[in-house]
């Protein structure tokens, strides 16, 4: 390579690395939407009648209402819990918080299965009445709200811990703690709970497993049934998902308007204050509320374990699950690594407000807030071609989908770390002769090793819990464990399905435990 070319490459190293990351992000996260609109737009115009005639419109409205109810209930439960966890001296804080938070890392479908073993007709606490309630809209809202409440709890707790102590102290001089919490802390932590609301609404709307299992018709289920069920009609599936594109854009606009880079303050691993508000005589009641939430979180998991043990399902599990756990782990680990790689470069660009970074950040957010059916159909539209079967017909397509949907985790988490690093730290390295790649890998990466590790773990766990995207296009023999569970639930032995659910729980717990152990804070 000639010297002038080498010098030019070095001068534009940052732009080149960013362009590569942008190309990767756009290929997995933007191209599916473009393909959907460009290739299938005409088909949609020709087939728009199914949207009205098949009752899909009323299903769409029903799904929107259910998602809104789930979001409201999760906020109502999670906000007070978040305050308790984030700022009070509630008893047994850590064990109760961990138990409460754990189900957020599991597919909600698995929790619905657990509630079925508790409140179904033949469940531990079940009767005809409880079963009827569970297999209804109320049951869907109950199961999903409890599954997603920990997301609100965690984000609100992090959000109020990030509020400037000065704001709180100024209010404490003139108001009671309860007023300080409701009038100062919660409004100041607005980006945290608005983010939680957007995430929960998005996940609820995309949710496929819970409504299908509880026999409640929803929009994603209608799309899914046209891709592989008795109503097989792929053209109609396309017609159904296209109207969701503006819906996704609306969610993106809400995210940018109310959260955006303010999420950095939520994700930022800044040092937390140690002082906590004394609950006084309310401490026993508040502690009981937190522990009740923790018990509600683990109750369905305990029911699954009971069913797996009592029916001998665990002994059979190995034969039924095949390579599914390995498919889950391997594809999720590769995807998490790619997510962190993209997140490092794009997150850096976003944190440092480089040109084009906001557009890339929006692309990552859009792929997450878009209903999984839209992204899934877009991925099928883009990748299901003879020349691309080496990806589409292998677990590679799982990786592509995971990276597309969860890239935002890497971009935002790593962006928040870098935004809190003084620019001088990078500039000093640049002045010392380090190019962009060297600054990224020798300064920023080691400096934030723990935070980047945390981002990898979070991405891994979100990929492991994914069902609603992977179920649309999983390759033959390459299905992840969540899909295996979902397909087996319809006609497999109950105790074996429960045992596979326990395997999923154990796998997630092991990953989180090992990750937590490796990333534990080291004293320096």
């Amino acid at each position: 390579m000639g010297r002038p070319l080498r010098a030019a490459l070095r001068r534009h190293e940052q732009e080149l690395v960013l362009a590569l990351a942008a190309a990767a992000l756009c290929t997995v996260g933007v191209a599916p939407f473009a393909s959907l609109l460009v290739r299938e737009g005409t088909a949609w115009l020709n087939a728009s009648t199914p949207l009205v005639s098949s009752g899909a419109l009323s299903l769409l409205l029903r799904s929107l209402v259910l998602s809104a109810l789930v979001t409201l209930l999760a906020l109502a439960l999670g906000m007070p819990l978040g305050v308790l966890v984030g700022r009070t001296d509630v008893r047994g804080l850590w064990p109760a918080s961990l138990l409460h938070a754990f189900p957020a890392f599991l597919p909600p479908f698995l929790l619905a299965l657990g509630w079925f073993h508790l409140f179904g007709v033949s469940g531990l606490l079940g009767s005809e009445a409880t079963s009827r309630a569970l297999f209804s809209d109320v049951g869907v809202v109950f199961v999903l709200a409890l599954a997603f409440t920990p997301i609100v709890t965690c984000l609100v707790a992090l959000g109020i811990q990030g509020v400037d102590p000065g704001l709180e102290e100024a209010a404490r001089v003139v108001a009671k703690p309860s007023r300080v919490v409701t009038r100062i802390l919660i409004p100041a932590a607005a980006p945290a709970w608005i983010l939680a609301a957007i995430v929960i609404f998005t996940l609820s709307f995309s949710e496929l497993g819970v409504p299908m299992f509880l026999r409640v018709d929803t929009f994603p289920a209608a799309v899914f049934s046209r891709l592989g069920g008795v109503d097989y009609a792929p053209g109609e599936a396309l017609a159904l998902v296209l109207p969701l594109v503006p819906f996704a854009l609306l969610l993106l606009a809400a995210e940018r308007r109310f959260v955006g880079t303010r999420s950095y303050a939520v994700f930022g691993l800044r040092s937390r204050r140690q002082d906590r508000l004394g609950l006084g005589r309310w401490r026993p009641a508040a502690s009981a509320a937190l522990w009740l939430a923790a018990l509600l979180s683990v109750a369905p998991i305990a029911a699954l374990a009971w069913r797996a043990l009592s029916g001998g399902g665990l002994a059979e599990a190995g034969r039924w699950m095949g390579r599914a756990p390995w498919n889950s782990l391997s594809s999720s680990a590769v995807a998490a690594t790619a997510i962190v790689g993209i997140g490092l470069v794009v997150g850096h660009a976003t944190a440092r407000r480089l040109r084009g970074a906001a557009a890339l950040d929006s692309a990552a957010v859009l792929a997450f807030v878009a209903p999984a059916a839209v992204l899934g159909i877009g991925l099928i539209s883009l990748w299901n071609r003879p020349a691309l079967q080496w990806v589409y017909g292998s677990t590679g397509i799982l990786v592509v989908g995971y990276v597309a949907r969860y890239a935002v985790i890497g971009v935002r988490t790593i962006g928040s770390l870098i935004a809190q690093t003084p620019l001088h730290v990078e500039e000093a390295a640049a002045a010392a002769g380090a190019g962009f790649w060297r600054r990224l890998t020798r300064i920023l990466l080691p400096l934030h090793a723990r935070g980047v590790g945390f981002a990898w773990l979070l991405a891994l766990v979100f990929c492991l819990r994914d069902l609603e995207l992977a179920v649309l296009y999983y390759p033959p023999g390459g299905e992840p464990l969540t899909v295996r569970l979902f397909t087996l639930e319809a006609n497999g032995p109950e105790s074996v399905v429960a045992a596979l659910a326990v395997v999923q729980v154990t796998m997630t717990a092991a990953v989180l435990g090992a990750g937590g152990f490796l990333l534990r804070r080291r004293a320096t």
Binding site: R11, E427, A431, A432, G433, A434
Partner: protein, 261 residues
């Protein structure tokens, strides 16, 4: 004497506001230039333009004979300019040891490990930090951290060192000690320096020449005598008066203490 660093007609805008307005500044090889100015006058922007972290909308930046930025174009990346900087917050890399902080830039420029170790040891000895190689910045005192930052800049043997108010947050005794150290190091090595400060005494202590910047324009350049003889603006006059006022108070205090003893 040849020119080490020059800004010629440099205009820098940020979000529509003019931060530097046709700035002309020249530093000769081996010269120590103090750049003084009130808050938000553009002192740090001059350094950022020189380092390549900001690209001027108009004007030229030269290092020696080489043009490194011109009219909105970055022609030489910051890492290839051969400059070194000491920031006010020092920006020591907390995950690297003292040796790691000093060795980072040398490694980036391909200095062999053996030579690197020798240069680091020599520089640490020179700034009075021998034996701290394996320690992390968090394990050092404030004064030691300042010395590491200075050593990290000088170990690169840069064509110029840019100091962005590195002594702004240190106590009087430590400041005196560090000024003495800087003066010695610059004299020994013949280092070219731009020292940004808002304190005229600090400027006088190390600099051969003083440039004063106000509202993004260089309003006066010269020796302390030149500034004293014909202050160009009320700000320069205030600086001189403050310096003389302090000097006379110190003088009085010394006479007073002498009379008592």
């Amino acid at each position: 004497m040849s020119t080490a660093l020059a800004l010629e007609g440099v205009t820098l805008t940020y979000r529509g506001q003019t931060v530097l307005d046709a700035v002309d500044l020249r530093v000769a090889s081996g010269e120590v230039l103090a750049l003084l100015g009130p808050s938000a006058s553009g002192k740090t922007s001059v350094l950022r333009v020189a380092l390549g972290f900001a690209v001027p909308r108009a004007g030229t930046v030269r290092l020696g004979e080489r043009i490194v930025s011109r009219d909105g174009r970055l022609l030489v990346a910051p890492e290839d300019r051969g400059l070194a900087v000491v920031f006010q917050d020092l920006a020591l890399w907390p995950h690297l040891t003292v040796e790691g902080n000093l060795g980072f830039g040398l490694a980036a420029r391909g200095v062999p490990a053996r030579e690197r170790a020798e240069r680091i040891a020599a520089m640490l000895g020179r700034v009075g930090l021998a034996g701290t190689e394996r320690r992390f910045p968090g394990e050092l005192s404030g004064g030691q951290r300042q010395r590491v930052a200075i050593a990290r800049a000088l170990v690169m043997e840069p064509r110029a060192v840019l100091l962005d108010e590195p002594l702004a947050n240190v106590d009087v005794d430590l400041r005196r000690e560090l000024l003495e150290l800087l003066r010695e190091l610059f004299r020994e090595n013949g280092t070219t320096v731009i020292h940004v400060t808002h304190d005229l005494r600090e400027a006088v202590a190390v600099a051969h020449r003083i440039a004063v910047i106000e509202a993004g324009r260089i309003v006066q350049q010269g020796s302390l005598g030149d500034l004293r003889r014909a202050p160009a603006t009320p700000f320069v006059r205030a600086l001189i008066e403050d310096l003389e006022d302090r000097a006379s108070r110190v003088d009085c205090a010394e006479r007073e203490s002498g009379r008592r003893s």
